[in-house]
Symmetry: C3
Subunit: 306 residues, 3 copies
């Protein structure tokens, strides 16, 4: 039995197969409409996350399966002091596969150790959110046609941004990848990613403070939010906040075939006027999130459709 | 693609077709049991409303479809500052149709503008609640056999009662309709309905303060709740509260074929002793609410069953 | 139409049939996979209980049916002042069967009186929790092969433990049953069970304060939690708390074929080191909980599968 704890759980070859499957699902959804008939997905969300929960649920339903679970700790038995280990043993009697979201890092790993059904880590604190990374990879591969030979701009809060760290770890396994790290000084990519991942693997990268300086030369722009609270002082925030807001003006500086991704939800870091730009693919990304989760559920359940 | 924002979105002819379909569903439910197989309804409830949510969910399940969503803002990503526009674009990737309930007036309209799937307004603040009005119309048509030639008593809080205003707007499109407006002075039907709708269309109406005075002559009695807080002073409340409580005694004054409707939930404005009276149809109304929503889902999805 | 309000609603013969059906479901789940196609279960949980709710939902889904409802009072219309009687009349229009959990004793009985669909009491305050008792009985019968000729140890809070009282009431209907009541003085089985049930029916029992004294001689050990707050003084709690924690050492005193049951969730009254002991069947119990609820749903809906 197999779980998904980290985006690196799958080898590059396995990821290729997973994304091929997702591509086939996109092309022939009807082939898969009953693949999980009689199967149940449990969504165990100890903190609310509508997007991630509904994406898993839609994926299971698209496969003809059923869904049960809870959407916040308040409506779970966690309030009665039950351990995650006990909860998953219980849920193993109710479902065939489960997706777990938990505020504590490592909770899904504990679940996996005690589970008799496949466990998907649907986000554990600031630690991992592997299905988001798989979504990002599928979006890039589907719309760009490749995962190698890419210059990727990562913009915003690179210090705390879990999705950014995961994406870097996932992309450095492909050839000829280059990063442009776009953030304020306070929110630079931390040393344990810059040195231990990029430097160690000799991945080229540059660091810039202004999005405008990076835009002309990117294949992919991955946007994340810069929260005001992250800045050390008000002055810096006021000086820099517009650097990290993508608008129509900035989009004019970007290549015609650059793609803009965002893990969502966005607040104001991408102006709504950008939404109609064909390069803005963050809502397509949501759709790819469903396809990759369908492929993931099939793979973890070892279900094959001819 | 079509949405349902207001009960007036459908012409009288379209409503007739919708109610004919609901009637066929009532008569032959098995014909429709798989009409929405493989389709998903998203219920996006930014404020709780068990009745309305479950009615939509039951409707979709009766059609063989699936349901996903959230039942309160607390378990949604609204808490992360996501706009309704972004949420609906996300949900468009997860579902084929959605029902949205929101405390802010106009929120479903914003959703509809950014949606790529049909949107049903399941109530937006004090503004509209069109599926309730469709339910009321279907109940009257099914049990009374007609939507014209009716004398309708509207009782209770006519000032703030959203369902009352919608029902008036819907009924004045039929011939030979007459209203009796039964309320305390403080809770009279507001001028923008009385003058702009009733007077402008020359719809006859009378205003009375006591339910007993209106009862002997009605075809339909539509009850709503009178909240104590609405009264200007305690004295008025004490003097009048019994005027608006329907009990067995008052029912004796009513015609043998008068129907009592109520949008529910009721608190004490209809005594439980009335429940067994065959003229009390407010629980049948709940059932008609499921049929009309089944018809609505089929119509908005443009699904036809032979 | 039939409801389940108390574990004694079914005669011993009816229980035998119910458990036979559960056994057939366990052996041939595929036979029952579509038995409830097109049917809906409503889960009306006025207080959260993940285990009980998900067990009912899994049961209905295993039968090919659908599920709708609410998981806490906050997301229900109870907050609008609707009575349980009115809610169940509404839900009768939405579903074919319902499971209700309510903090107030007797609420499911009120629901049953006004319902036009079968109602399952899924726990009402400290009163009844019949599906737990049915689960306990099925677990014992399936794994022990019998419900008579048993010496059953009941350990922990025997004063307030609802599941313990129900289990006693259910087991005294079988032949040659003997109980060992293991609890601190403060948490002894109350007189209305000891005298009115055990003494009246001449059921042999002994009372002991230490689990170790009872273990060597039991067929079944039914564990429950002892909450610190229940003790009159800190001193007693400190002196006795370890008496009621089942660990590997204590398990060595027990017969090789003794079974350990627990209604769950457990906190620390069973050490996790016991989980791998083949005699620890509290997680199997969860699975039997699904089978018995499947059998119950079929029975209350009067659905027969050949």
């Amino acid at each position: 039995m197999r779980h998904l704890m980290s985006p690196l759980d799958f080898s590059v070859e396995e990821l290729d197969k997973l994304m091929d499957l997702a591509g086939d699902i996109e092309a022939h959804p009807e082939k898969y409409a009953h693949a999980c008939a009689g199967k149940k997905l449990a969504t165990l969300f100890y903190e609310p996350s509508t997007r991630t929960r509904l994406s898993h649920e839609a994926a299971m339903m698209n496969l003809g399966g059923n869904v049960l679970g809870f959407s916040s700790a308040a409506s779970s038995s966690a309030t009665k002091g039950e351990s995650v280990a006990d909860t998953i043993r219980m849920v193993s009697c109710y479902a065939d596969i489960c997706a777990i979201r938990h505020p504590k890092e490592g909770a899904p790993m504990v679940a996996a150790q005690h589970s008799s059904i496949p466990v998907i880590n649907a986000g554990d604190g600031g630690h991992q959110h592997p299905t988001q990374t798989l979504t990002d990879l599928l979006t890039i591969r589907s719309l760009k046609g490749r995962l190698n030979n890419l210059k990727i701009g990562l913009c915003g809060d690179l210090k705390f941004g879990r999705t950014v760290h995961s994406l870097i770890n996932a992309l450095v396994r492909y050839e000829n990848i280059e990063f442009v790290l776009i953030s304020p000084e306070e929110l630079r990519l931390p040393g344990y990613v810059r040195k231990d991942v990029l430097d160690k693997k000799n991945i080229p990268y540059t660091e810039v403070e202004r999005l405008e300086d990076a835009l002309p030369d990117l294949d992919i722009l991955y946007m994340t939010r810069v929260q005001k609270e992250r800045f050390f002082n008000e002055e810096d925030y006021v000086r820099m906040k517009d650097f990290y807001i993508l608008d129509k003006g900035k989009m004019e500086l970007a290549p015609k075939d650059m793609l803009v991704l965002h893990p969502l939800p966005r607040v104001n870091e991408i102006s709504v006027e950008v939404d109609d730009d064909p390069r803005a693919v963050y809502f397509k990304q949501v759709q790819y999130g469903v396809y990759i989760r369908m492929a993931l559920i099939l793979t973890l359940l070892d279900i094959h459709v001819d």
